[in-house]
Structures are given as C-alpha cells and as structure tokens.
Symmetry: C2
Subunit: 419 residues, 2 copies
Amino acid sequence: MTIKIGLFGLGTVGSGLLTLLAEQNNKIKASTGLDFTVKTALVSTLTKDRPGLDPAIQLTTDPNDILNDPEIDLVVEVAGGTGSAKGWIKSALSSKKPVITANKDLIATAGQELIELANKAQVPLLYEAAVAGGIPIITTLQNYYRTDTIRSLAGIVNGTTNYMLTQMAQNGLSYEKALKQAQELGFAEADPTNDVAGYDAAYKAIILARLVFGLESTLDELAITGIQEITDDDIAAVKVLGGQLKLLFTINQVGEDSIALSVSPQVILPDSPLSQVHNENNAIVVNSDNLGQTMYYGPGAGARPTAQAVLADILLAATATKESHQVFSSENMRLAEPNVQAYCWILNSKTHESIESAVHELDDELNGYIVRQGSHENSNNGSQLVLYTKEITTANHDRLLKELTQKRTLNKEFVIYPC
Amino acid sequence: MTIKIGLFGLGTVGSGLLTLLAEQNNKIKASTGLDFTVKTALVSTLTKDRPGLDPAIQLTTDPNDILNDPEIDLVVEVAGGTGSAKGWIKSALSSKKPVITANKDLIATAGQELIELANKAQVPLLYEAAVAGGIPIITTLQNYYRTDTIRSLAGIVNGTTNYMLTQMAQNGLSYEKALKQAQELGFAEADPTNDVAGYDAAYKAIILARLVFGLESTLDELAITGIQEITDDDIAAVKVLGGQLKLLFTINQVGEDSIALSVSPQVILPDSPLSQVHNENNAIVVNSDNLGQTMYYGPGAGARPTAQAVLADILLAATATKESHQVFSSENMRLAEPNVQAYCWILNSKTHESIESAVHELDDELNGYIVRQGSHENSNNGSQLVLYTKEITTANHDRLLKELTQKRTLNKEFVIYPC
C-alpha cells in the first residue's frame, strides 16, 4: 500500500526527511507493507536550485495543491512559524488527514486548539520532533507512563546552550567564543536570542507540561532565565565541588492541582545522571510513582535526528489507530511556584582575607542551612566561596539573602543558582 | 468495557501488579474507557495467608481454570521458569488470548517459537518486563527505531551486580560484604549465581539481539564473564584514571550479517553516559544511523518497576492492533567475534621498583598502542600500573600479551578488562 505525503517545507529538516525515506523505505516496506512517498512539497520559491531532489516530487508554492489533493494521505509540516503553518494544519485535520509536525513554537502556543481539533476529527496529530527530536519522549510519555503517575520532569532540551556551557566549562572558551563556535557548527542561529534567553527550552517545557499535567501556560507566565549572564568565574566556581552549570527546565507538581515550571541555569552535581550530558546532547529525567527516576538521553540538534522523529511519527500515524493526545491527570493543572529548592551561592571577594571574614560572618545566619562548601581563587586574584544550601522555601531563601547582603563584604558580589 | 485478566503467579511481581492496578485503574478508565480486573490467579498453594487480597479474585491451582475460561480476555504470566510457563503461554496464544510475560529466561530460550505462534495467531505477545523493567526499551526499539538502523547496543541490565560493584567502588565494601548487602535488600537471591556469573544479563542481551538483529543465540554460544573474579585492587586500580568497573553487555554488528555479543566486566570511563549508572539502576545505550548515541536509564530491580512494565504492556495489548514482534534487519544475523576493542591492563607488582622497570621494558612493544596510563599503590604495599590501549584487534591483543607475559616481572600479575 502506498502512502502519499504532502510536505510543507523543504529546508534542513524537510530535506533530511527525504534522505531518511530513501534510506529506510525498503526496510519499512518489508516489515509493514507500507510504501511512503512524498507526492508534493510546498516551497517558498520554485526557482531555487535543488541538486539531487527526486524529480517525481511536485514542488509548489500554493498550499492548496496539498490541502485540496484527495490523493494525499498524510501531511508533514516542517516549515515552522506560528503564522501560515497553523492554518495548514487546521485545514489538513479538518479534511481528516493525519498531521505530523516539528513545529515547537506552534505546538507550545496553539497546541491545545490543534489537539482538540485532531481529537474531534479522530485523526492523529503527532509532534515528537518538536521536543528533543533525538529522544522519543512524547511517544514514551504517552504510552509507557499512562499506567504510572508522574510527579516531576527536568532536563536539558536546548542543544545550543548546552554546547556553549560545555565548551566554556571543559575548554575554557569565553561566552562569545562558545557562541561563535556554536554558530559555525550550525547549532546556533545568527540571532541566538531564542536559545540563549531560554525561550526555546521554555516552549519545549510548555509542551511537556501540557502533555503530562494538562497545564496550559504561556511564555510570559513563566520564570525564564537564560545563560547570557553566566561568567567565566561562575563556571570556575561551581567546578570547585565538581558541579557544572546547565540550562535546565523543571516541571514539578507542588500540590494537588499545582505545577511549578521554570527554565534557568542550574548547578548539576557529579552524581546526577544529567552530569554526563555534554555538548549538543539533550536529556530528560522523569520522576514517577512506579518507576522512580528514569532518564532519556539523545542528540539535541541536527537535521537527521529531527527527521528521524518525523519519520517515526509518520509510521506511527500510518499504523496506529486514531489515538492522539493523552492527558495524564484527570483534571488540568494550574501554574505554581516551586515549594522548596536547593541553591548554590557563589560569593566573590577581591582578596583572600575578605572571603575568610565573610565565612565567619556567615556562620551564625547559615547555621544548619549549608550542606557543602569550598573555596577557589578566581580570575582576578580574588577568592570565591561556594556554598550549597539544603532544600529551603523561597521565603526562607529571601530572608537569608536579605540578612546576608546587608553585610558590607558581600555587597554586589553574590551569584545564585538553583541546584 | 471490562477486560478480564488471568494471572499466572502471585509472587512479588504478581502482587505488585494488583497494587498498581488498584492505584491506576480509575485514571486508566477515565482516559481509555477500559476497566481492567484480575478474574483468576494461579497460585502454587491455596492455603497460604494473603492479607489484603481482593476477595473477588478467584485463586486456583489448576491452569485450565484460566486457559479454558472464555471470559478471560488476556493472560499475564509472572510465574517464571521455562517449564510449565511455556505450555500456558502456548495454550493461551492458541486460543487467541494476548499474553504479557515478565519471563526473561523463557523469552531468551524459547522466544522465537512463541513469537511465531503469536504472529500466526495474530495476538500480541508482549515482554517489556523481561528486559530492564524500569526502562521501556522493548517498546521503544519496536516503535521508534523501526525507521532507523541500529549498529550496536550496550548497557547495564543486571541491578544486583551493578549494586555490588557500586558499593565496592564507592564504599570500599568487599565482594562478600557487597553480596550480603544486596541479598539483605532483596536485590540478590540466596544463590546469586545467575546474577554474578552474568547469565541474567546474557539472557537479556539474547532477547535484545533477537529483537533488533534477528539473532538466535544460546547461553553456551556466548562469551560470558561474571564479576566473581574482580578484586579490591582491580577496583582501586581502574579508579586511578577515573574509571569504574561495570558488568556490561555489548551487541555489535561487525559485518553485513554478523553480530558480536558478550557479557563481561568492563571499565567505564568518566565521560561515558554510563558512568553515572550506580547501584541497582540499569541503562542501555543504542547507536544508530539516524540518532547517533541515545541512552535509556531507569531502575533495574524491584517489584514496582517490573509490575509497571507488565501493566503498560497490558494496556498496550488491549488498545493496540495485532502488532507483535519486529525484526529490524531484513535477514537474520549470525553470531560473530568483536572486531576491535580497547582494553584496560592492570599490572600488579610487589614493589615500586619492579613496576618502574616493567614500564621501561614495555615501552618498545607498546609504542603506539597505549593512550593513557597511570600508577597507583595497591593494598599490599606494592604498585599497580594501569594502561589503556587503543582499539585493537583480538589477534593484535593476543600477540602483545604473549610478548609481555614472557617477561619475568609481569608473570601472573596481569589483569585485563575491555573498556
């Protein structure tokens, strides 16, 4: 049986999909009896030279050539953006065509509307490629965890920033140099804001929080910190006790109907399963009642892993029943503050003497709150004191901080990371 | 719609399944409309006291009360063993009842026969719980990787030995003490041979190699080394360069139609994603064309994770189509030797002087083969020299070893691990 695909977008991922289809089609045919072929592809311009493109694929600039073609069984959207793409997907779902999309921004911002439409039409809307394409996290959450109860998720889902932070920590690169290298390798775009400011990771977290907890949230509701303010000294300081800075998303159930969701640089300690997630790799940790801690690790960037996620979804859509979005909790959740959190405090001092006196001044206030500490010479011949707190409430943390920053020696020389 | 289950075995996993069903049934009912209930359970004795057991569950010692009951929709086998269980499963499949089993030994030794029977009967035979129950590796391989080409798998799939090796390395426990502790925690059985000799890990590797490469293999065809010979000094020595000893299975495609499969203690270096897999946890690394390296991590022991794998399979069987075993390559593979391998050599010497001279004697032969080295004082006031080789062929390794062991200073004081 031949399955004809209408493809919106023939950029990096779209072209990658054609490569993978050519490589895998015989095997897929042998094991499933299905023969996948791209009939029509929407492109922005017909005049561009596309060496190696199968001439049997019809190129068009008119979306209706896909949407109104009754021969097309299935629609793949890898054009991106939240404008036209939304209309194409709605139109395809309305005409009962299954849709596979890699469009993270669209699923994050309009996913609920599209999922409802898909469920109403009883056709699959699959988006594995939208979150950590190299990791089958969406399918695994939908299938394996529907008999379990998830309490929290956390992880590294932005390959660009993880690459930069790894290069800064392991090879001593400056922020600028690390960014330039990421751009040269194709991990970062010319305008890197989406990645370095944490928006890309936040979109992925929004998608996961909806899938697992039924939480609807928007970018401006969330606490998002990027990696732009991280200094070389911060990176050196957290190394003192074996830690690393990583841009992490965290989604925690903090009450019967409350979810805390954040994106920020956090300290990963050496005994964390996330401590070996380097460079452009991604990983997601899931905590659940039946399994405890599980982790899924894979590549976080690249056309091939993303195209693989799209292709796996294509096969799933063609072989699966009408199964679509799965919300785990029986009622939808609301957004909440985290309840308790451990922190890594970095105290910078110009001389070794003042850091020593700071330690002494701190002793009384911090008694009982600090679980590990170390000190370290920073790049300006000054000292850094690194303190790890217990898990404390935000209120308690604010109170301690207020007391501490009133002391002269600590003024303006205080860096804080959750950990 | 009510789905009635016939349960073979009411031990740890069977009881765990009843607990999970009680906890999750409302949620499953809400999201799928399916109401799962255990109608009949086969037990070895009816007189045993079973506090808390739902009185609605019929207990029996006659398997025909399950197999011949037309009301039973689905059979779960968690009794274990390769004797009676095989007959029950064959009988259930023949009467078109889907079967879910946690029986690793049976699937490893008779899986192909049972899978063929299931495919012929067009009913699912699912066995997620048989390999690393806390990790959805079977389902993920069957679904996500059928559009990819896997080249190798490796990992830690025996929680008992990983717990023991972690305790020996991190807390300085002796082998005997670590084993005793594992037994007290319920990770190891009274007779720990299956775990410590590597047979349990080998059975799991056999199952994975069949699933991914269509390789049929038996325990006596494989190179299996357990952890019984590992000494405290070995563990201390590999620590010199940050390494750890773990019991690993490896499955490598080494030619068009050849697969190398082994189980042995190997050195895991600090930059490996497996380096943070401690205590009873498991992890499986997959290398494939589209994704590169991916890893799946989760708990490797315990009734709850195993019962979760069984329950997830139950839901899959009840909602899925007749989909069953998926072989990835178009033709079945044969067993092969590994082609190249890196090694960690530990040279023990009674005095510091002799180890130094050994290094000098080694220089000529090893020139170009050694990539890292370090030395270390062992527990008997002697010295250990630790060398890591490049990836070399078995033949080359044998030749080098032969030359080296002819030297007086190295005689009988040589420990080798793949890494």
